[in-house]
């Protein structure tokens, strides 16, 4: 695929991604901090639904042999240490690396600072990477997936996993209906009423 085609495909897919992120409200700082404070579960609902959908899609595509899977290598120290740092950053930013751009598009001015901070963080890591990769952060087990450990085909495990996620989501929705989680201005804000911006 040429770079130009890749960019056009990326822009088209990204536009759909951004549209859905905006409609789901998951890009709102109120939703992301609200999830981390366990008072709002919209983030988990969008996230687990996207995981379950992806699992079904890949069970079909991989099961029928159309695509190869592309899992990342299991680097346990890096996954745990990096994951914790990433999580702290997500709470401070009130965004993930992807939803930062949705915030920029929606007009949140602080998201521009998140974006520049993110670029600086990525460059700082790049300079440190030759050293960090020689530490325990570079140690791991290769590309392992759960169904390999269980000795079953991926597609069966993926469908079982998706079914389990659907059960969890149904229970989550019974416990916390999504319409009650949107907040004052579909922004996850439950503070005192304020004049509309």
């Amino acid at each position: 695929m040429s770079i130009l085609t890749a960019v056009v495909v990326g822009l088209a897919m990204g536009s759909i991604f951004g549209f859905a992120l905006e409609k789901s409200r998951v890009f709102e700082p109120g939703m992301i901090v609200g999830q981390m404070q366990m008072r709002n579960f919209i983030m988990l609902k969008v996230f687990l639904t996207a995981v379950a959908t992806g699992a079904v899609v890949l069970a079909v595509l991989n099961g029928f042999g159309f695509v190869k899977l592309a899992p990342k290598a299991a680097l346990y120290y890096a996954d745990i240490i990096g994951g914790v740092i990433l999580g702290v950053g997500i709470t401070l930013a009130g965004a993930c690396p992807g939803t930062t751009l949705a915030q920029v598009g929606a007009g949140y001015r602080d998201a521009l600072f998140t974006l520049v901070g993110g670029l600086c963080g990525a460059v700082a890591y790049t300079y440190a990477q030759p050293i960090l990769s020689k530490t325990i952060l570079g140690q791991g087990d290769g590309k392992i997936i759960f169904t390999d450990l269980l000795g079953m085909p991926y597609w069966i495990g993926a469908l079982i996993f998706a079914a389990a996620l659907v059960v969890i989501l149904v229970m989550l929705e019974k416990w916390r209906p999504w319409r009650a989680e949107l907040g004052n201005d579909v922004d996850g804000d439950f503070g005192p009423a304020r004049p509309k911006a």
């Binding site: 901090v33 690396p97 598009g105 993110g118």
Partner: protein, 170 residues
Amino acid sequence: MLTQKAWSPYFAGIVIGLLQIPAFLMVETALGASSSYVTVGVWLTGFFDPSITNIAYAASHVSAAAKNWWQVALVGGIAVGAFVSMKISAARRPAISPIWARAIGTASPNARYAMAFVGGFVMLFGARIADGCTSGHGISGMAQLSVGSTVAVAAMFAGGIAAAMLLKRI
């Protein structure tokens, strides 16, 4: 439906999950976001420090490979899609979400801008150590039943919840 302010999180989640179809079939990769920060960051840094591409990690992210620039376009497209969705639903956002004044106890925009910069820095530094973010490890890694991605997502929520406990309740 396109002019609604909010969709069901389940419908939106299905739309996002279905994007794995063109990602795997056309680009032969999974959805992800955080690598693009390396691509753009290294490309910009290259104007000041051309030797950055002596680092293999930098060179591989900024090379003319389709996947690199596909992801940059994907992440840029997110801003476009969110902008369009916002406009056609006639929603408007303040400069800063009202939750921040309660979370950090000050309405100072500069305090929030500083926090956002630090948050962004920490977020991407962590994501690059972990080799993925909410998209790459979360949406894509867990859908592929990746052991490492599942560990990374658990750690991400642990770090996020711990940090959120230090903020005031929103």
